[in-house]
């Protein structure tokens, strides 16, 4: 039991790492990773939705009729997304503004619905939480990593939390000119594509 629990948790961190191994849920990955801070914030919001929707779907898996299951999952997910929206508005207002419509759009993130359908609907609540937490943390770290690459190259700074950069290239090299392309829209596609290529070089097992 404990062993399989650990397995379900760790698979999200490497073997099934969401945006890289399972190429799903790319919209927030591309849109909110201008800074590390936004990437991590989006990841945490998604993790919250993932864990609680997995838990509820798993608890109700014997009650929900098979024919209308997708509609039921969507309502469950939408409920938790609304809760996240309120929490972000109350406790992290700048982040709420920066993420904009991408918070309500967690509803249509394929990863969340995918986990509900492929895992939570067939497993016990404890396993479903482990799965949601693993995938969620993997997603958060991936968003953070993409944000790190884009922000560092595109703006020369690293912002983890609170809007003030913890590192600034101009303090090291006074004449530093950032590669602005990386924080523009096209840079998002190129950065993700190249990072995917690097991941492909490393075998998954």
């Amino acid at each position: 039991m404990a062993q399989s629990l650990a397995k379900e948790f760790t698979k999200g961190l490497w073997a099934e790492l969401p945006p890289f191994r399972l190429v799903l849920g790319l919209c927030p990955v591309l849109a909110v990773t201008k800074t590390v801070e936004n990437g991590l914030g989006m990841g945490i919001a998604t993790t919250f939705v993932l864990v609680f929707s997995n838990l509820l779907v798993s608890m109700l898996r014997n009650v929900i009729p098979t024919k209308v299951r997708i509609a039921c999952y969507i309502v469950i997910i939408a409920t938790f997304v609304t809760i996240v929206e309120f929490l972000a508005q109350a406790f992290a207002y700048p982040l709420f503004l920066a993420l904009g419509i991408f918070i309500p759009l967690i509803v249509v993130n394929c990863i969340v619905l995918g986990r509900a359908e492929a895992f939570a609907s067939k497993n016990t609540p404890v396993m479903a939480i482990a799965d949601g937490l693993g995938i969620g943390i993997g997603f958060t770290l991936s968003l953070g990593a993409i944000g790190l690459v884009r922000e560092f190259l595109g703006a020369g700074t690293i912002t983890i939390w609170g809007g003030t950069p913890v590192f600034d290239m101009t303090s090291v090299f006074a004449n530093f000119q950032p590669f602005g392309f990386m924080i523009e829209a096209p840079g998002a596609f190129v950065a993700l594509g190249l990072m995917l290529a690097v991941m492909n070089l490393i075998p998954s097992k």
Binding site: G25, V81, I101, C110, F189, V190
Partner: protein, 190 residues
């Protein structure tokens, strides 16, 4: 003139795929063949316009009327999901030819964030009914344009020798970046 500016803005400058990053899963998923790209684009035009009309009406008269805007996320996704279901049943019954063409793309649209994203953008920009209708249509045209262009490029890439690590999605994303770069040339037109 106002609608012309809206058209240029929605199709080129704020292209829903390449500048707003909405609907990227079907963008990568259905762009391997020209046929599927055309089918998906048609389905999106159809559903996005319908969804734009319905969500605007629901938001203005129901949610704002009752003062329950916080139910926006839940109600929009339900409107879109049931709309897709109805469209599917309607087409199957009355226009079988179109149904066969759109086929598997219709159910996929429920989780296409471009549709929901366009509806949310209409609301957040406080468009009037006609503006929301036009914007939904132009966003959908922009989606189709980007998807079909991308599918064309991707069919060519299949013939090229791509390094092993870059194959498939990876080179697809880099290509999408290049197409997005050409679209940024429209910035500042309106």
């Amino acid at each position: 003139m106002e609608y012309f500016e809206l058209a240029i803005g929605c199709i080129f400058i704020n292209n829903i795929l390449l500048a707003q990053f909405l609907g990227n899963c079907p963008f990568l998923g259905t762009s391997k063949k020209m046929e599927t790209a055309v089918g998906m684009s048609m389905a999106v035009v159809f559903v996005m316009v319908m969804a734009g009309i319905f969500t605007w009406t629901v938001d203005t008269y129901l949610l704002k009327g009752l003062g329950v805007e916080y139910l926006r996320t839940v109600s929009f996704i339900l409107v879109i999901a049931s709309l897709v279901q109805f469209v599917e049943m309607f087409l199957k019954k009355s226009i079988p030819g179109l149904y066969a063409g759109l086929g598997i793309f219709l159910p996929l649209i429920t989780t296409n964030c471009a549709v929901m994203g366009a509806c949310l953008l209409n609301i957040s920009k406080e468009y009037s009914f006609m503006q929301a209708l036009a914007a939904s249509f132009f966003y959908a045209i922009g989606f189709g344009l980007a998807l079909i262009l991308f599918a064309g490029v991707r069919e060519r890439i299949n013939l090229a020798r791509v390094p092993k690590a870059l194959q498939d999605t990876s080179i697809g994303l880099v290509t999408a970046g290049m197409i997005a770069l050409t679209f940024t040339a429209f910035k500042g037109m309106v």
